[in-house]
């Protein structure tokens, strides 16, 4: 009684086993019939609907949106049929309905089957019921239920076969249209009009072949490196991409059905993988610092049908801008005491990383020279989004500096660049110097620190003259002792100044760089008395009277003194004029020796309490000093100006007797843009005759060349890429204008072109170059 178990609770089970057996067999046949018809009807419906839709689209073109929606209709219908059949099989009708079906299809049952159900609902033990059961068991045992549930597959199979035949016939008769119809329904987002033109072109010979699709509008997406904290950005791909090194760049656009592949190549590099996703191609890469862009090529039937160059401009991550705001200037301190605040700021385009104070200390000189350096952390550091401000107070007492020490400090900041960096910058350097005791009269120490005055400075010759003139004016009111004391004081200062001049002479004589305090053997002792050989020292320096002896040999001191005597006109006329074989050094020093002697004469007059006798010598000393100041500086300092070189007269005058001029080979040619410019000119000339596609392809090739090479120009490549886009759109004039702009950018200005070396017309120089083998 399996059937009874599946009955609803209100349906009583049939009472006769033959009834139950018949209902079970009818149910089984009915299930097979439903399954067979479902499996036949579903594909038939799918095929018929698809054929009808395609036919309708070919005869009356639909919009792409409608086609995109309707292409799922056949599948939905087929799926619905299968689902309905499965549902019917899983939930069959009640046994009573199967009994009714059997009664309808098998006339010899004569309602016994359905009556058996009614008997089961009534009183099965009644007399009539027992009589019916006895008869029904006999009759029902002979019933054959085959044919109760026929399959009826004719119509679905006819529909299915008809649909297939129609589709096959259309594909054989119109293969291009069939392929187009297939792709139109597979990729409904493609431009219908373009496809329709292609179908017409292949089916109707009078219609020209439509153009191959080219790169459509591209979109880019840039994901900056994480350290920048910037968000993703998107934009159109017809302008140069600008990305930081390390950015993830994604480029995408439509992938047309007629293309077989899209190929991407790095400019100056290898291939870049391109993946296809739906109806789009996607190229994705991580921007490296040297990346200049990519070249895209669409391939169809093994041929490049479209090319586009996408330049990429790498945005530099600039190093921080570091400024040392305090101290505002270099410091020279009189003593290593006190506290000096050091303040610095740093700003960066994407935030400041480590920020420290770098220092170096130099101490001593010569063989005791010391150099130390290190890094201090700032005591306070305040950070903002894009900058930082820091401060550190230097405690000079704790640093144990010594006079002469020099501290250099500068702020050093790094950015957070983890891709190409970190970029590091330094501020300008501030110097903190501790003055030496012997230079206190030469430097300006900072306000607020004790300043030591020089103990015994030298007086200038003009000051000595003024003091002497004042003494001479006050002479009548002074006692002899006062006159002698003040005159001796001026004489002492005059002597010190004279000794300084003597040291200069000595330094030149030995050409050494010795300490001026070193005993040089030229220090005067005791004034006039120490120079017995100069007993006849000139009373008047400028009178030119001869006297004394000029030594022509002997010790060094003798030579110097002899030259000094000659400078002041002593000795015989022959000795005075006999200068051609004198020591060149002494010849150079002759003016200084004259100065030395007149100072000595003034000093001697003052020591004799005769200021009026010293004043003429001092005036002469001033004149000589002024003369020296106006003379050419033979040993100039850093701020000197040198006369320009007379290049023409110097040509070919070099000493080459011992020189071996090298044999030079022709070097490698420098990179030039001439070839690219010539190609641009050629392409520009063909603008009017070439087809739009060919012109566009040539421009894309030029863009790739402009990016490649050592002097890649991304801006020029961008102009050429835009020109390619204009050309493929048929706007030749705009493309040519952009091409000329790119050419003007690539072409170097005339002033920067190399000039050939001029040939020499000087016979001496020409002979010289011939000797060098370069004539």
């Amino acid at each position: 009684m399996r059937t009874a178990l599946r009955q609803p609770p209100h349906s009583p089970p049939p009472v006769l086993p033959p009834v139950d057996r018949i209902v079970a067999r009818v149910r089984k046949l009915w299930r097979w019939s439903v399954a067979a018809r479902t499996l036949a009807a579903a594909p038939a419906l799918l095929a018929a609907t698809a054929v009808l839709l395609v036919a309708a689209d070919l005869l009356m073109p639909m919009r792409a949106v409608l086609r995109e929606a309707l292409r799922w209709l056949p599948f939905a219908l087929a799926g619905g049929v299968i689902g309905y059949g499965a549902w019917r099989i899983a939930r069959p009708p009640s046994p009573r309905r199967f009994a009714l079906l059997a009664e309808e299809r098998i006339p010899q049952l004569e309602n016994r089957l359905i009556t058996a159900f009614d008997v089961a609902l009534g009183d099965p033990d009644s007399l009539v019921a027992r009589a019916f059961v006895a008869d029904a068991e006999r009759r029902l045992a002979e019933v054959d239920v085959r044919g109760v549930a026929p399959f009826k597959l004719g119509v679905p199979l006819v529909v299915l076969l008809t649909s297939w035949c129609l589709a096959l016939a259309f594909a054989i008769a119109f293969p291009t249209a069939a392929r187009e119809a297939w792709w139109r329904w597979v990729t409904p987002r493609d431009s219908y009009e373009q496809r329709w033109r292609e179908v017409r072109a292949s089916t109707l010979p009078a219609v020209p072949t439509p153009p191959m699709p080219v790169f459509d509008e591209m979109r880019w997406q840039i994901t900056p490196p994480a350290y920048t904290g910037l968000r993703e950005s998107e934009g159109r791909g017809d302008e140069p991409l600008q990305a930081l090194a390390g950015s993830r760049v994604r480029l995408r656009s439509a992938f047309f059905g007629r293309w077989s592949a899209v190929r991407a190549t790095r400019i100056g590099g290898g291939a870049l993988p391109v993946r296809r996703q739906g109806g789009e191609w996607i190229a994705e890469w991580t921007q490296s610092p040297g990346e200049r862009g990519i070249s895209l090529e669409a391939i169809a039937r093994g041929e490049v049908v479209s090319r586009r160059v996408v330049p990429v401009i790498v945005v530099p991550d600039r190093a921080p801008d570091v400024r040392l705001t305090a101290p505002e200037a270099d410091l020279i301190l009189a003593a290593p005491r006190g506290r000096i605040p050091v303040r610095a700021t740093a700003a960066d385009d994407y935030g400041v990383g480590p920020f420290v104070l770098s220092w170096s200390r130099t101490r001593g000189s010569g063989e005791t020279f010391e150099y130390q350096e290190g890094v201090w952390q700032f005591a306070s550091l305040r950070r903002t989004d894009r900058g930082a401000a820091a401060e550190l107070v230097l405690d000079l007492d704790a640093m144990q500096l010594q006079p002469g020490d020099v501290i250099h400090v500068r702020a050093v900041a790094s950015d957070r660049n983890t891709v190409t960096g970190p970029g590091q910058s330094v501020s300008r350097t501030r110097m903190i110097r501790i003055a030496r005791p012997d230079e206190m009269d030469q430097v300006n120490t900072e306000v607020g620190f004790p300043m030591e005055l020089p103990k015994d400075p030298l007086l200038s010759q003009r000051m000595l003259l003024i003091k002497t003139q004042r003494l001479q004016a006050e002479r009548g009111r002074l006692s002899a002792a006062e006159l002698r004391a003040r005159a001796a004081e001026i004489a002492s200062d005059q002597g010190r100044l004279r000794e300084r001049v003597g040291e200069q002479i000595f330094t030149r004589q030995t050409a050494g760089l010795q300490d001026l305090n070193v005993e040089g053997g030229f220090t005067e002792h005791g004034g006039a008395g120490a120079h017995d050989e100069h007993d006849a020292a000139p009373a008047q320096p400028a009178n030119g009277q001869a006297g004394g002896q000029a030594s022509g040999g002997g010790s060094f001191n003798d030579q110097v003194v002899a030259a000094a005597s000659a400078a002041t006109g002593q000795g015989t006329m022959d000795e005075v004029q006999h200068n051609h074989d004198s020591d060149p050094i002494l010849e150079v020093n002759r003016t200084l020796l004259s100065l030395y002697n007149v100072m000595w004469a003034a000093e001697r007059e003052l020591n004799q309490s005769a200021p009026n006798g010293a004043i003429p010598h001092q005036l002469e000393a001033l004149r000589i000093i002024d003369q020296i100041r106006k003379a050419e500086r033979l040993f100039p300092s850093a701020n000197m100006r040198v006369d320009p070189v007379n290049v023409d007269s110097a040509r070919g005058q070099g000493k080459v007797d011992d020189a071996a001029p090298a044999q030079r080979a022709v070097g490698a040619a420098l990179p030039t843009t001439d070839a690219l410019l010539a190609e641009i000119d050629r392409v520009s000339a063909s603008a009017g005759t070439a087809t739009a596609r060919a012109f566009s392809m040539q421009l894309s090739g030029l863009a790739a060349r402009a990016l490649a090479g050592a002097n890649g120009d991304a801006q020029a490549a961008a102009l050429l890429s835009r020109a390619a886009g204009e050309a493929q759109a048929g706007r030749t004039a705009q493309a040519r204008s952009l091409l000329l702009r790119a050419r003007a950018r690539i072409a170097p200005p005339a002033a920067t072109r190399a000039h050939s070396l001029p040939s020499t017309t000087d016979p001496a120089a020409a002979a010289y170059y011939r000797r060098l083998g370069r004539g």
Binding site: A319, V647, K655, V656, A660, A662, A751
Partner: protein
């Protein structure tokens, strides 16, 4: 009634005034359009006419930097210019120029000379300029005027170069380098009398240092104190039995031809 002559005179005066009113703004505008010497950045530094650096003449440029003493060897430029004129056919300006290391004018000179005694700390702009200058084909000759191995200039200048060009960028130049055959032939970098007088290790360095960019020497660094060796008035060159500035010719010829 006004006389005809007076009327003509008044008419002519009015016409002239009208012409002057029209022409004056044009003349002012034309004058304003002329480039002025002061308007060009960096030109005030030039001891030579500004146009000289833009011509075909080679101009010996000395780099001026913020730290240290950039002008420690004022006689070297003139002396080297004289040597270039003596030995080569290079069209050379009779006087050198001074250019700020941080100035864009730096890029107008193919060769720059830098020296000093004191610690060198390049500013951010100086560092960026120097790196870009060398990478674009410029040549800078840096000479340690301090001739001191442990000296402040050497430690700081080499440190700055390593910071700018990379820790491994500054390398010893082999003595067979083409720098030593660019014009005259040298077996090694010429020695100087000053290197032995230094306060450091008292050694003569066998090699110069340099930074190569794109296979070309862009930075030449010397410990030998050529600034002292070449720091004399060029008129005194005649007293030398061997001209010691010939290596400077090699350096400049290399800078101009490689």
């Amino acid at each position: 009634m006004m006389r005809p002559a007076l009327r003509r005179l008044l008419r002519a005066t009015a016409a002239l005034s009208l012409v002057a009113m029209v022409a004056a703004p044009s003349a002012v505008a034309a004058d304003a359009a002329l480039p002025r010497r002061d308007a060009v950045a960096g030109c005030s530094l030039f001891p030579v006419p500004c146009s000289l650096s833009f011509s075909s003449l080679f101009v010996f440029a000395t780099a001026r930097y913020e730290s240290g003493d950039w002008n420690a060897a004022p006689l070297v430029p003139t002396n080297v210019i004289h040597s270039l004129a003596q030995y080569t056919a290079i069209p050379v300006a009779p006087q050198g120029a001074v250019v700020d290391l941080a100035s864009p004018e730096l890029f107008r000179f193919p060769f720059v000379y830098l020296t000093g005694h004191l610690p060198v700390r390049f500013s951010q702009q100086e560092s960026a300029n120097l790196k870009a200058y060398v990478e674009r084909g410029g040549f800078i000759f840096i000479d340690d005027h301090n001739h001191d191995v442990d000296g402040a200039f050497h430690k700081t200048a080499t440190g700055e170069l390593r910071r700018i060009f990379g820790a491994e960028a500054l390398k010893e130049i082999p003595n067979g380098h083409e720098l030593y055959r660019a014009f005259f032939t040298f077996d090694e970098p010429p020695t100087t009398s000053h290197e032995l007088n230094g306060w450091g290790d008292n050694l003569v360095h066998e090699h110069l240092l340099g930074v190569e960019v794109n296979g070309r020497l862009g930075v030449l660094y010397s410990n030998k104190d050529y600034s002292s060796e070449w720091g004399y008035h060029y008129r005194n060159k005649r007293f030398l039995s061997v001209d010691n500035t010939r290596f400077a010719v090699n350096v400049i010829v290399y800078a101009l031809t490689r």
